[in-house]
């Protein structure tokens, strides 16, 4: 009897572990916010088909995934809240208020989210498990891009109207550096070693490389295309290249990380805005706002392999992988 009970308990535990692992398994789904569709399109990363469209509220923009993969967060700008989506059930499971006009955000490895509140000129820090505000950080006018260093020790916030990149220490939330960059800085991304941060400046059409420790600009380059208004930026898997969404140029620019030399440009849809790179680095998704589509890029070939119609004016994209 004792042995049977022990086996039974072990089986129960195994079942729980199985259920847990399957519940939290990466689905390969791609979550796309539709700024004027008030929804999130969910794509199957294998078939490139839309498998669900989830109503989330007015003007969804930033999107991110919890470190354990159990939740997808969406900044719903006009409703001033974060909608939390279950990536398995594909439904909104809760919402929480997060200050005025949340736009972009980044998820810290500890699970907290750092949000830019555009109209309040602050970045705010929330614990998404209970929706509690942990801290606010005063930044410049119209904060937008938020990036967290892979080592979790810094957060970079761009303020669009004051042309600044703020490099902020975590957890003290003291500003380490205020770096004057080109006009209308939009997005930022850290190198994998957390020592370098890259910024796009939309109006000046520049990509800027900054040393995180010193706060000094080490390099910058103009995209050299009057229509190129760079927005999102990502570093590729081995750190050798940067991908830049070129806005109204309708191109993804591929830059050499060392010299910021433009290596290639890939034509995508109109007003390309958001970017997400698969964990293995082989697939890049872009949101092409005016064409209401997502482009899928094979990063090995640096070619578009598929385009997927989504909702109205797609803005942000995140991969559940």
């Amino acid at each position: 009897m004792q042995i049977n009970k022990k086996i039974s308990r072990q089986l129960q535990l195994l079942v729980l572990v199985f259920l847990y692992n399957n519940a939290f398994a990466d689905t390969g789904r791609v979550f796309v916010t539709n700024e004027r569709g008030d929804s999130v399109s969910v794509l199957d990363g294998n078939t490139n088909q839309v498998i669900s469209t989830i109503a989330v509220g007015k003007r969804p923009r930033g999107v991110g995934i919890s470190p354990d993969g159990t939740e997808v967060y969406v900044a719903v700008s006009i409703d001033n809240l974060i909608a939390v989506i279950d990536p398995i059930k594909l439904e909104v499971i809760r919402t929480f208020s997060c200050g005025d006009d949340p736009e972009a955000f980044a998820v810290h490895p500890n699970g907290n989210i750092y949000i830019s509140n555009e109209e309040d000129a602050i970045a705010s820090v929330y614990d998404p498990s209970n929706g509690k505000l942990i801290d606010t950080i005063e930044v410049g006018l119209e904060p937008e891009g938020v990036a967290i260093s892979p080592d979790g020790t810094k957060v970079a916030v761009t303020s669009e109207s004051t042309n600044l990149l703020h490099i902020i220490e975590i957890p003290s939330h003291n500003i380490l550096h205020n770096v004057v960059v080109g006009a209308r800085p939009r997005s930022a991304a850290f190198s994998s070693d957390s020592k370098t941060v890259y910024v796009t400046s939309e109006i000046s059409g520049e990509i800027i490389k900054i040393n995180v420790d010193s706060g000094e600009i080490s390099q910058k380059v103009s995209l050299g295309d009057a229509r190129a208004k760079p927005k999102d930026i990502l570093v590729n898997k081995d750190g050798s290249k940067l991908y830049v969404a070129g806005g109204r140029s309708n191109k993804i620019f591929v830059l050499d990380e060392k010299e910021l030399k433009i290596l290639n440009s890939i034509s995508v849809g109109k007003r390309v805005w958001g970017l997400a790179l698969s964990k293995d680095g082989t697939v890049l998704y872009t949101t092409d706002g005016v064409d209401h589509q997502v482009s899928v890029i094979d990063t090995t070939l640096e070619e578009v392999s598929a385009t997927i119609p989504v909702g109205k004016f797609p803005w942000g994209v995140a991969i559940h992988d």
Binding site: G140, L141, S161, A183, R184, I203
Partner: protein
């Protein structure tokens, strides 16, 4: 007013306003200064409104501008009296020909003549329309214009007009240059600098001054209170007078 420069609180930069404080330009200037100081607190810079009596005591002329909401004649007098201080002319002159050609007058607004030409061109293409060219409109939303309009209305308690945008832009331009240069006024007197500023006037493109020191910018066509079109810099440039006095002078220089 006691003026000090380079205090422990940060470097002070001075803005002299020449115009009535009952105008939209004054409200725009105040908005610009508030925003400049928001930026300045991160860079240890402080923007202060000064008056003409203060100018003699300001040591750091390289960190001073005049924003003029006065006539072309007055702008000319200011430019002559203060040759090393940039004078931002924020009201439209009647025409490019009527403008004084001085190396230190920076024109934020196109002339009324250009505005009228743009209006005429648009109406020719839209015979049933009654649109008119404007620098700005309080319903403008694109390119984060909505945020600027909202900030202005919150502070000034009225919608942002052409004149308020123009004065706001003068201060924003100054603060953008000051954020990158120790001697911003000197930079603003250098045509090589002013032609490559890539200024963000919240109009969606980078704005620069031409050789006549006019800020090139897209214009809005507003018909019955609604923005119906945006006219590009390139299209506006085709309407310019090739023989304007200042252009001839700039070419000679």
């Amino acid at each position: 007013m006691v003026l000090t420069t380079g205090t422990a609180l940060g470097k002070e930069l001075h803005i002299v306003f020449d115009g009535s404080k009952e105008t939209d330009a004054w409200l725009g200037l105040q908005q610009g200064i508030e925003e400049a100081n928001t930026q300045g607190k991160f860079l240890n810079l402080k923007y202060i409104i000064a008056n003409f009596n203060d100018l003699a005591s300001i040591q750091d002329k390289a960190s001073t501008i005049i924003v003029s909401a006065r006539s072309a004649l007055r702008n000319s007098e200011l430019a002559t009296k203060y040759p090393n201080i940039p004078v931002f002319a924020v009201l439209p002159s009647s025409s490019a020909q009527s403008r004084p050609c001085a190396k230190n007058i920076l024109y934020i607004s196109p002339s009324s003549q250009i505005m009228n030409k743009v209006t005429t061109l648009w109406r020719a293409e839209h015979p049933n329309g009654n649109g008119r060219a404007q620098l700005w409109h309080y319903t403008f939303r694109k390119y984060a214009a909505a945020q600027l309009n909202k900030r202005f209305k919150k502070t000034a308690e009225k919608p942002m007009s052409d004149d308020s945008w123009s004065a706001w832009a003068a201060v924003k331009l100054f603060s953008d240059v000051a954020a990158k240069n120790a001697n911003p006024s000197t930079q603003l007197l250098n045509p090589k600098e002013t032609s490559t500023l890539a200024f963000d006037g919240q109009k969606g493109v980078d704005l620069n001054f031409n050789s006549e020191l006019e800020l090139l910018q897209p214009l809005l066509i507003v018909d019955n209170g609604i923005i119906v079109s945006e006219i590009s810099i390139e299209k506006i440039n085709t309407l310019r007078d090739a023989n304007s006095n200042c252009r001839t002078l700039a070419a000679k220089n």
